[in-house]
Amino acid sequence: MKETLARPADDLEWVMETYGNMLFRLCLVMLGNSADAEDALQETMLKYYRKAPAFTSEEHRKAWLLTVAGNQCKDLLRFRAKHPLAEDTDIYEYKSSDGENSGILEALMTLPEKFRLVLILHYVEEYPVKDIAKMVGKTPSAVKMRLQKGRKLLKEVYRKEYM
């Protein structure tokens, strides 16, 4: 029989400590402002609290959280398309160091969300293409294409605007 991990009700704080930063980064980069990121993250945690499945491993839990957070961000982006906010991005306020901004995050924020999501999952969270494909509900070749186009766009915007 498969051993299952602790149930959500018991470990909310632990999950927030362990995966909070990772999920916040994803939501912030996807949504561009901390208020929406917090909303998406809260919805993710609520889903985790209420209906998370029995996880078979820590990787399973992490992937589940990333998938749900990504979907929440997409939902919120759809909503924001109809109800736009006049808020500027405040992504730099949440950097832990006060070093000079290279502009790479600003360049990333100009990309469409479908590229941002796969770029973060692949280059920041270091997920292989086949796992990302499962998370975003696309084929591995579609994910590869998105990565390729995303890289190209990021490079173009960054070198043109910020170098």
Binding site: L12, M16, Y94, S96
Partner: protein
């Protein structure tokens, strides 16, 4: 180069501790709120005629459980099923009779967001559970509110109540004032007196129409109580 830079800069993003704590707290509260709503709904339903059927059902179930170790458990199980069905029919019959008599009872309803997430709760159809009268005192209207079911949910849980949405109509039926009030007053023995500002109105007879009250309880979200109440006053 971009990839390394991207990774480095994104990894530097951290979530503030207070945000983490806020999210955990909100999740716990939302969980507790859901349990409370379930309990309150059960409480209200428990007061209805169905109550009898549930009690009978449980008694029958207990009887069946005591006998499960005997060989006649199956037989009792069948009897229990029949008894439960009969009790349920009687209970539903009672509810139908109540509905037929024109007695409307309030109920809790979820407030849902665009994506279907529950973000709050209202109490609907409370018209027959609250009595309202209005008198004029100086430059304000005093609205006396009597909760006819003061000992039951949601009224038993409320600390204070205010008039959330109201309108004033003149003798010709023309709406002169449509307003909301943020002022709330404490409940004492199921009675509360709220004050509404009285704008410059000529002498005459008027109707005060209230469509929504708002109830507050300590450490709880405000509960809109909806219905339709009309009372007359003269100037």
């Amino acid at each position: 180069m971009e990839r390394t830079l991207l990774k480095e800069e994104i990894k530097e993003i951290t979530m503030p501790d207070e945000m983490k704590a806020r999210i955990v707290e909100n999740c716990r509260n939302a969980g507790l709120e859901k349990e409370n709503i379930d309990m309150k709904i059960m409480d209200i339903e428990g007061k209805a005629a169905i109550d009898n059927s549930v009690v009978e059902n449980k008694t029958t179930e207990r009887t069946v459980q005591n006998k499960t170790h005997t060989a006649s458990a199956r037989k009792w199980s069948r009897i229990a099923t029949v008894a439960a069905a009969v009790a349920l029919c009687l209970g539903l019959g009672g509810v139908t009779v109540m509905a037929g008599s024109g007695k409307l009872e309030g109920f809790f309803a979820d407030v849902t967001r665009w994506d279907g997430a529950v973000v709050g709760m209202t109490y609907e159809q409370a018209t027959e559970e609250i009595e309202v009268s209005a008198t004029v005192s100086g430059d304000s209207i005093v609205v006396d509110v009597v909760f006819l079911k003061a000992g039951e949910a949601p009224y038993a849980f409320l600390d204070s109540v205010g008039v959330q949405a109201y309108s004033i109509v003149n003798a010709e039926g023309k709406t002169l004032v449509e307003g909301t009030s943020n002022e709330k007053a404490g409940i004492a023995d199921g009675i509360v007196s709220c004050k509404l500002p009285l704008d410059e109105l000529e002498s005459g007879n008027y109707k005060l129409i209230i469509t929504e009250f708002v109830g507050s309880a300590k450490a709880d979200q405000d509960l809109p109580i909806k219905g339709y109440w009309v009372c007359e006053f003269s100037l």
